[in-house]
Structure formats: structure tokens, C-alpha cells
Amino acid sequence: MHHLIDRRLNGKNKSAVNRERFLKRFKSQIRDAVARSVKDRSITDIERGEKVSIPVRDVNEPTLGHAQGGVWERVFPGNKEYLRGDQIDRPEQGGGGGGSGGSGQGGGGEDDFVFELSREEFLNFFFDELELPNLVKRQLQQTITFKSIRAGFTSDGTPTNIHVVRSLRSALGRRIALSAEPMRELNEAQEDLDKLLETRSEHDPLIKAVMAQIHALKTRVANIPFIDPFDLKYSNRIKIPLPTTQAVMFCVMDVSGSMDENKKDIAKRFFILLYLFLTRIYDKIEVVFIRHHTQAYEVNEDEFFHARDTGGTVVSSALKLTRQIIEARYPSSDWNIYVAQASDGDNWDSDSPQCREILQNNLLPLLQYYAYVEITEGEPQNLWYEYEMVAQTHKEFAMRRIRDASEIWPVFRDLFRKHPEKAVA
């Protein structure tokens, strides 16, 4: 006796639960590993999954075992040269002979436990605990999105929504209910018939009558329909309005001549990170891309990251353009507005104070958050000092410096980390 069973169609993700538990348990180590891993690579391939490694000592499951030491006598295969009584020098670090006997725990082996995260998991860890600060739900009455959710069962609906189990269950109930009475009568009639048959002959009119009754009852039971339109149950779905928050992010990048290839690359990587973060975490967010040298242009995503044009630097041009766009398209009563600006801090001297003024008077009052990133290895320049004055008086203004590519991620995390205490209702 044997069976041959095809199990391939059974679920294959039996280990998913255990895998999840593993990730949950080592969350903090994995997060560190993820942060470490992005340091060393171009941000553009973040969208792929990633190999992460965490120290093996953390994932170790300890068991009792022997360490090296004491007397061991072991048998090995493959003798080539030794004779009984030969003395052999002890191999370094016990490597040659220490394979068996649970000596692995001892010491030395600081290997890493390496495994793959899927893209989804990777990004979850990557953007874990980041958020847009001060996101306020503005204009709740404007909500026009609905979400369809299940809400029990109804007795009418479209055929596609028929709920088979419920329908058959109620059909079964109806059949039982309707057949109970005739069945009881039928049983009685059957008993009558049995009794009568003991005393009378088959052709007795009384027996004929009872048999006719039985026949009628049986027909009645048989005529109860298996399923009736009355039985049909439909899954019910209702729509509930979803409160949405409208948010827009302005990405402002300096592409002037003083931004050399390296700096531009860092700026781009910063914005790619930002873009990825926004589009992943927030379903509905608009992003406005602005490039500027002496003049500012609104561009699309592709141009923003790839176009190459260059010139002098007038930062205020970008700020003015931002202001114009906000006024034209994003009334601040309806929108949460964010601005991220990247520059090397090199600006026309006379322009910097103007930038501060525009910021303080025209822009910041409209904004939720303004993040300025200065990419430079040298001393801060005039724009930095002007902005510092803004930062002192405005909490929603943040500024950081990035010296080289390895600082992109820490600065980014710092700018967008969650502030639980400041959670806005």
C-alpha cells in the first residue's frame, strides 16, 4: 500500500511566519545593517533587495558543549605518512582537528550571519521610523476618496457577490424547516400503514387511502426546492470615506557651476532617497522639482535627475519660484507643504540676505517643514550664516551639512526621524 501525492500546489510559504519572527527579533540589528549597507552603494539600486549581515553571536542559539582542552583522542581518515608514536606539532588555532565535538562555540569565529531581504522588507527597514514632520490633516471636509470594505451580508445584490456558503446554509435551514411538518406526518402515516397491514389485506380501501396520503406527502417533500431565490445571500460591501491629507514636497536643487560632479551626485542621491521615501510612505503626495542656477525652472522628475545645464548661482530665484507655485497651485490652507533644498552654499553675496528675507517673510509661514542641506567640504559660506539666523527663530527650519557621500543617509535620517513627542493630532 502506498500513496503518491502531489503537494506542489500546497502553499509554499510555510516558513513565512518564522521568517517574520526572525526579522522582528533582530529588528534593531537588521536596521543597523541596512543603514551600513546603503552607505557603500549607489542609492539608485536601493529598490532592489539586499543582502544584510548581522553578527553571528547575536543569532546564536547556545547549547552546552565542550571546548578544546583536556584529553581528546580522535580518529581521522586518510593517513598518508604517520606511524604509531609520531609526534605532530599542534596546528594553529586548532583548525586541523577541531571540527567535531562541539568546539565551535569556543572563540575566534566572529562570522556574520548573512541573509537576503526582499526589496519590500529592505525598504521597510530602510525608512523605518521616518516621517514627514508636522503633517496636519488640513481640509478634512474635502475628502473625496472612499474605501470599500466588507460589511456583513445582505439578501440582495449582484450575482458576482453571491456568498455560496451562506446561501447554501440558509437553503439547508429552509429545507429542514419546510420538510419538518410533512416528514412528521409521513412518519405517522408510515406507522399507521404498518399497523394496518398487520390486520388487513393490501387491497383494503383504508390502506389505499393511507398509501395515497403517503404518496402525497412524499411528493410534497420532494417538491421542496433545493435552492430558492429567497435563500441567496450576498456579500455586502460599503464605502467609507477616507480622510486624506494633501501634501506636496518641493525639491530644490542647485545645479550651478560651482556644484561639481561629486556634489551634484550627492545632491541627486539625497533627492532620490527623499523621493523614494515620499512615494513609499505616503500614497498621495505631489512632488515639485525645481532646478536653479541663476534662474529657476520647474522640471519633471526625469529632467531633474538627468538634465545637465549650468551657470552662476542665484538661490533666491528658486525660492521665488517656489513661492509662485505655492500661490498658484497649492493654497496652504489645503496643503501640507514641504521644501527640501540642496546647495553647496555658494551664492551671490548680495543674494543671500534676500534669501533669508524671502524665507522668513514669504515662505516659512506657508510651510510645514523646510530642510536645507549644504554639500561642501570647506568652510560654510554666506548662505549658511544667513540660514543659521533663520534656524534660530523658526522651529520648522532645519539645516545640515553633508561632507561626503557616506553622510547622506545619516543626515537624511536625522532630518526625517520620527518625533513621537511632537505627534500632531
Partner: protein
């Protein structure tokens, strides 16, 4: 060592004995019909050799499912724990990078005996797996005395279903984290959760469910008895000298904890018990690796060769089979970069083949060493060897001088008091007996794992638990002992002490894990 017998039948040398039939299949693709056909033929041949097996259940699975099975120690049902997830991740990584092929098969000691066939395998490999798992391992599970005494093939799947459900219920009721902590601690002691000499109770789903509530209550009342705080009558106290508890050292740490840990809740005791039962189920497998794998390998080799001799598989299929077979039984020498201990497949296979050889063509030497075996019926001798031994005794009984020479075994004495290692025996007349007994003791779990027993419980004072490590050959404990002690302390609920005792009974080293009242060791 073993020279594989590749018979080449040429047209001018016709096979005389078994009539050659048409091959069952030509290509490498498998189909369900083909598997049935092969299975039928293999069954017929196995019957002729007298293999006694449980009914078979063959399951076709995909590579992903194989990895799932891998991750849960090969069992089809298992409770959830992060360590299985870790296992899965590392298997997955190795597999994806092509560093490791998956094992061709997993077989479960259950009745019916479940064997997994991977869909990626060729027909030849499927036949190999059927021969190896469904007949080799299966008959071993059914025949070997350790499995017969210690495992319940009929009940294990049911028990695992019960265990999984129970643990999931506990997670829902007491929180995943609490259950996980408990499981971590139990896993750390899994190797010390087995009875080595006492036969365990039978497992069964209904009985377990029915008795579990009863057991909870009973256990709780037992605990209360030990920790009774009512003052005893004075004269009684005087009369009886204070006894140690437990009176005799206990080897089964998990059992002791399940029964006597003062602070565990009933559900926690039940989980400790589950882990203990599962450990017990796997205990025979740990003691019969060489025998079990060797037996399965011997039979896939024998059965496949028989198929070939009858002309049921083609030359190319035979070559494919031999290719993977030789990979399986390869034994790199100690100086090879691939050396990773003694390959149980290689040693086991060679030993069974050797027994067969001694029965069929004994040499003078064999007659001296194995007078009873030489010239006997090999099927019966082999069957006897499979049924009545474990690795340790199997090697001690059957390792022949020829095999010692073939493997070029030598033994090295490593005494940390000497500056150099010493070659204590090699494969020569003077060394055979020594190597044989040395290798046998290498398979004795009691020597491989530190011997640790429950020694004392301070029932009148701080309730601390004292364990004793009876040192063998001055071998020290690995550093992990500190971590494990924390786990024991978590289970016990009070401080735990571990004393290393040398062979004269003197305490030479002691490890402590102090626990504040109701504190956590971690």
C-alpha cells in the same frame, strides 16, 4: 575504498541470470505514471531482499517547499519559532547562490513513512530517492531497536499537530514574546531533555488532550508538596537527616524542570514537556547517523544495481545514479580542504558493503575477526546488524581491519598537557583494535556531549538549583555555558549554579547565574 561495480554488458556477452527486460523509461523526465512503475519494480526487488517497511507515502514538492521542510527540522508540521526562520534564511541564501544543492530527499519517521520527492529531480534521481528513503530509511525506522523503543511512528504527526496548536494557543493567550522566551530556553536544553534509559510513554493526540488538564492540576499539587511551607512536626525533623533533593542526580534536565521548577505556570510546563518529547523523538536519529544513512545508501545502491541488472534502467541513467552516489559516499582525507569530519554516508555504506563481502567472500583475516559472520547469509546478517545496534556498538562490532586500511584511519591523541599531538594508532595489526574502539566511543553521545546532571536543590533556603558537570578526560565546557545557565535560570526561576567535577569527585570550577527575586537573567 569501495570500487563501484559498473557492469558493462556488451552484445557478445549476454546476461545469463536475470532476463533483461526493456528499460522502464528512456528520458530523464518523470511523470506520475513512471514513478508508480518504478515504485512497483523497486517494491518487488526490495521484497525479494526481505526489506520490511511501513507503508509509503511519496509526496512531490517544489524546491521552495523543500526549503520550508528543511527549516522546520524536516517535519511537515511544526510550531513557530524564529530559529526556524533563521534556518530558512540561511538555506535560502545558500540555495540561491548555488552554494548548495538541496538534499534530494527528506524522509519522516512516521507511519505511513512520508518521503519528499523534489519536482526538479530527474526520473533517475526520483528512483534513487524512493530506494534510499522509502525503502532504506523506512525499513531502518521500522526495524532498529532504538526507533522501536523510543519513537512512536504512528503518533508523531498527531503529536506535532497537538503541539503546534497548543503553542499557538499559548501565544494568543500569553503573548508571543513570553512563549518565545520559553522556547528559546527549552531549545538551549534540548539535548538534555532525553531519557537515556527509561522508556517514554506512548504519544497520542486524544490521550494528550484528555490528560493534559489533569496533568496540569496534578503537577501543580506536586510542586506545592515540595515547597510546602507548613512546619513539620519537630521530632520528625530531628529523626530524619536532611536529605538532598533530588536524592539521585537526574540526567533529564528538562524533565526535572517540568516537574519541579517552582514558578512555572501549568502552560509553561506543558510547553517544556512538548520540547522534551520532540527531543526524545529525535534522540535515536542522533545515535544512529552512520547506521541509518549507511543503511539507506547501501539499499539504494543495491536496489538500483538490481534494476540495472534486470535492464530496467538505461546505461545513461545508471551513470547518472553512480555520479550522485559517489558524491554522496565521498570521504576526503584529513588533509583535504574538503575534510569535514567522517562522512556518515561513506562510513556506513562501506561498513554494510563490507559485512556483505565478509558473508560472501571472506578472507583469512575476516575469518579470524568475524568467525560467526564469514560465509553466513548476508541478508540475515545485515538485517541483524541493522536491528540491534546503534552507531557506537555497530562500529565496535563490525568495523573490519580491511575497512580501517581502506579508510586509512589513524588516531591522534591530543592532550593539552603535552606540547605535541601524538599518533596513538594507525591502520596496522597493532592498531586495529584500538582504532575500532576509539572510533566507536567517538559515536557515543555521552562522550561527545558534556555529562551534566541535576545535583541538588536548596529546598530550605534560596531554592537555588545546583547542576554538576562530570568531567571526562579533563575536557572543559565551552563558553556558551554562561548563556545556557541564564536560560536554565529563566526556567528554574531562581539562581542556578553549575559545578565542574573532576574524575576524583572534586569540584574544580563553578559557574553561577544569580537571579534576583522574580528577576530576569537576561
Amino acid at each position: 575504498m569501495t570500487t563501484t561495480r559498473t557492469r558493462k554488458t556488451t552484445s557478445d556477452e549476454p546476461e545469463a541470470r536475470p532476463p533483461r527486460r526493456k528499460p522502464l523509461s528512456l528520458g530523464s523526465e518523470w511523470t506520475f505514471e513512471l514513478i508508480e512503475t518504478y515504485y512497483k519494480e523497486i517494491t518487488r526487488i526490495a521484497k525479494n531482499f526481505g526489506l520490511d517497511t511501513y507503508p509509503n507515502q511519496l509526496e512531490i514538492i517544489s524546491a521552495e517547499q523543500m526549503m520550508d521542510a528543511y527549516a522546520s527540522v524536516g517535519m511537515p508540521v511544526m510550531y513557530n519559532h524564529w530559529s526556524f526562520g533563521k534556518q530558512f534564511l540561511s538555506t535560502h541564501k545558500h540555495y540561491q547562490r548555488g552554494m548548495m544543492g538541496l538534499a534530494y530527499e527528506i524522509v519522516i519517521n512516521s507511519n505511513p513513512c512520508i518521503a519528499y520527492l523534489m519536482e526538479e529531480n530527474t526520473m533517475t534521481m526520483q528512483a534513487l530517492v524512493i530506494a534510499h528513503a522509502s525503502f532504506g530509511h523506512n525499513s531502518f525506522f521500522k526495524g532498529n531497536y532504538l526507533f522501536r523503543t523510543w519513537t512512536e511512528a504512528d503518533a508523531i504527526i498527531d503529536y506535532l499537530v497537538f503541539a503546534k496548536r497548543y503553542i499557538a494557543e499559548c501565544e494568543a493567550r500569553y503573548g508571543e514574546d513570553k512563549v518565545e522566551e520559553l522556547l528559546d530556553s527549552c531549545h538551549a536544553l534540548m539535548n538534555y531533555g532525553v531519557d537515556r534509559y527509561k522508556r517514554p510513554q506512548k504519544l497520542s493526540l486524544e490521550k494528550e488532550l484528555a490528560r493534559q488538564a489533569e496533568r496540569e492540576q496534578y503537577q501543580q499539587s506536586q510542586i506545592n508538596e515540595i515547597w510546602r511551607t507548613l512546619p513539620r512536626r519537630f521530632e520528625e525533623e530531628q529523626a530524619v537527616a536532611p536529605k538532598r533533593f533530588p536524592e539521585e542526580p537526574q540526567e533529564n534536565l528538562l524533565y526535572f524542570i517540568e516537574k519541579f521548577a517552582p514558578l512555572l505556570e501549568p502552560w509553561q510546563r506543558e510547553i517544556v514537556r512538548i520540547i522534551r518529547k520532540i527531543a526524545q523523538y529525535f534522540y535515536p536519529q542522533r545515535q544512529t547517523q552512520v547506521m541509518n544513512e549507511g543503511w539507506a545508501t547501501f539499499w539504494h545502491y543495491t536496489l538500483m544495481n538490481q534494476l540495472y541488472e534486470e535492464g530496467l534502467i538505461t546505461d545513461s541513467a545508471m551513470f547518472e545514479f553512480l555520479h550522485s552516489h559517489t558524491n554522496v559516499v565521498m570521504q576526503p582525507g584529513v588533509d583535504s580542504p574538503y575534510f569535514n569530519g567522517i562522512n556518515p554516508y561513506a562510513l556506513g555504506f562501506a561498513m554494510y558493503r563490507d559485512i556483505q563481502r565478509i558473508c560472501q567472500n571472506p578472507t583469512e583475516e575476516d575469518k579470524r575477526w568475524f568467525p560467526d559472520m564469514a560465509g553466513s547469509d548476508w541478508c540475515k546478517t545485515l538485517d541483524f546488524a541493522m536491528r540491534n545496534f546503534k552507531d557506537e556498538s555497530f562500529v565496535a562490532q563490525y568495523l573490519s581491519p580491511k575497512l580501517i586500511r581502506d579508510f586509512r584511519f589513524f588516531s591522534i591523541l591530543d592532550d593539552d598537557e603535552n606540547a605535541t599531538l601524538k599518533v596513538s594508532a594507525i591502520h596496522d595489526d597493532a592498531g586495529y583494535a584500538e582504532i575500532r574502539s576509539q572510533l566507536a566511543s567517538q559515536y557515543n553521545l555521552a562522550y561527545r556531549e558534556p555529562n551534566i546532571q541535576v545535583y541538588d536543590v536548596n529546598t530550605r533556603g534560596d531554592r537555588s538549583l545546583t547542576l554538576r558537570h562530570y568531567q571526562y578526560q579533563r575536557r572543559p565546557l565551552a563558553n556558551s555555558v554562561h548563556e545556557v545557565l541564564k536560560h536554565i535560570a529563566r526556567l528554574w526561576g531562581f539562581s542556578v549554579k553549575l559545578e565542574s567535577v573532576d574524575e576524583d569527585g572534586q569540584v574544580i570550577l563553578s559557574y553561577d547565574c544569580k537571579l534576583e527575586k522574580r528577576g530576569s537573567p537576561f
